[in-house]
Amino acid sequence: MTVSEDTTAIVARMRRASEKPWRRALVSFAYAVVPVVAFVLIWEWAATTWPSLFFPPPSRIWDAGVELFFSGPPETLFLTPAVTVDIAGTVSRALLGFALGSIVGIIAGTVIGRSIIIRDLTSPIVEFLRSIPATATLPLFIIILGGEDGMRLAFISYTVMWFVLINTAAGVSTIHGTVLDMCKTFRVPVLKVFFEVMLPAALPKIFAGLRIAITVALLAAIVSELMLASNGIGYRLVIAQTQFRMGDLWAWMVVLALVGFVFNTVMEAVERRVLAWDRLARVGG
């Protein structure tokens, strides 16, 4: 997916480079903004022309959102508990679960990717466990760990782990045997080999897994809150639904889309920075 994305992006950039720079910027800007504005305006017009209980106009969603998020006291910079408790809670749980799951996934993936015996021993188990739709295991996490945040973190980490594990194993197993033999010959310490040879070499693959994992972490966080929670964006969605507050419901959905957008954007920026050395290799191959 990324390979063709890069290729098409490069072709488009080359074509655009032949145009005048200010014109190019203007055209990109128009392509990015006009459709979104048009979409919002059409929605506003349609929702006021044919009023629907379920699809309020964007202006009402905006009002509901301002009331929900920015009507707090001055000492919290006008932020309401909806921001400082619910959004912060969901985001922190998703990020913490993402971090934990990724660390476990990278370590387990390295072991599985490097040792043929362990790989052969575990491959049917891994294959089966990762085929289980992760959310189906949520009731089990609730039975074993109860309804607290620990359960949610464990569930998010578990869900995230598989994507990182599989990609790490694939990345690590492509390392040339000669390189590792050389490390052995020069008696490089195991930890050093892990951090300075294996990890960098597998990094492009690992990041492919991490990119999926960050999206999945947010999804798992929301699922765990929809199911059983006392705060968080998922919990607020359920409350807005049961109280039939459609403006609030939409405002929370917009916030969730924004959180997901920020997660993706930050992840891509990190990847671009960390993998700067690999960009050319990937586009060329």
Binding site: M1, V3, S4, E5, T7, T8, A32, V33, V34, P35, V36, F39, F54, I116, I117, D120, L121, S123, I125, E127, F128, L129, S131, I132, P133, A134, T135, A136, T137, P139, L140, I142, I143, G171, S173, T174, V179, F195, V197, L199, P200, T215, L219, I222, V223, L226, L237, Q241, L249, W252, M253, L256, A257, V259, G260, F261, W277, D278, A281, G285
Partner: protein, 284 residues
């Protein structure tokens, strides 16, 4: 840590994984893998059984594996459970079919029209990051708790991989092939149908394979959360609610895993069967 890699990324960080071949004959390797795989599973099952029987882990949390298997076998004689499983399978089938019917034509249109692609991109980038499960509360209010609700959410989640892969596949069509079609007198529609779509086929198939797992996950999630619906997810949720039926929760999850495995194997097989020709080109 970047210092070590900068000198040798070309050799070590190949984007495409190439499985390392151990120096053993292929048939022997396959047998070895099979045996080791079985041994691995047996070890795990034995550990689960022993840990539970000896009371190292409370039986309320981890029932012996054997009783889970017995419970699972018993479930296949339970008509209510079979209705649940069938409902999930049917929803999956409708979900993936609908997703294909929506995403492939849309992807071809956007892939052919540069203006359409650039214009839709910012909208898509804004809508896509929202986790599909966030739609559950709204869609329940609008559509109730039936099949339509499941399908709307599953399709929302599943169209993206197909859509993007279709767009990239269409973008990647060899322009010379299209020009050749045109000079042989094919209409633009015929060029699309006979040259563009087949050449994007392998990419589309990859998208469909990814989406088919997503549809299953989303459907089971929705069943679990929405409550009141039938389906495997609803079954697992009900069994948790009973409190004393942990074996059945485990059994339900095992069946979900079997379904997931079946979907993966089926779609992987279909892809290999119909698009193996593209492997040699190194596409996707």
């Amino acid at each position: 840590m970047a210092v070590a890699t900068r000198d040798q990324p070309k050799v070590d960080a190949r984007p495409e994984p190439r499985p390392r071949r151990p120096r053993v004959a292929p048939a022997q390797t396959r047998g070895r893998r099979l045996i080791l795989g079985l041994v691995g599973m047996l070890i795990l099952v034995a550990i689960l059984e022993i840990v539970s029987r000896l009371g190292i882990v409370n039986e309320k949390f981890l029932p012996p594996f054997s009783s889970v298997v017995v419970a699972m076998v018993g479930l296949f004689g339970d008509p209510v459970f079979l209705v649940d499983v069938w409902s999930t399978i049917a929803s999956w089938f409708f979900g993936i079919t609908l997703s294909i019917c929506i995403a492939v034509p849309l992807g071809v249109a956007l892939g052919l029209s540069n203006v359409g692609y650039r214009a839709s991109r910012s909208l898509i980038e804004l809508i896509r990051p929202m986790p599909p499960v966030a739609l559950i509360p709204l869609v329940i209010l609008v559509l109730g708790q039936g099949l339509e609700m499941k399908l709307v959410i599953a399709v929302y989640a599943a169209i993206w991989p197909i859509l993007f892969n279709t767009i990239y596949g269409v973008h990647g069509t060899d322009p010379k092939a299209k020009e050749m079609g045109k000079s042989f007198g094919l209409t633009p529609f015929a060029v699309t149908r006979r040259i563009v779509v087949p050449s994007a086929g392998p990419m589309i198939a990859t998208g469909v394979r990814i989406s088919s797992s997503i549809v299953l996950i989303v459907i089971i999630t929705v069943e679990l959360i929405a409550g009141g619906t039938t389906g495997l997810g609803a079954f697992i949720g009900r069994m948790r609610g009973l409190g004393d039926q942990v074996e059945l929760v485990y059994a339900g999850i095992l069946v979900a895993g079997l379904l997931g495995l079946a979907v993966n194997l089926l779609l992987g097989w279909l892809e290999r069967r119909y698009f193996s020709w593209s492997r040699t080109r190194g596409g996707a």
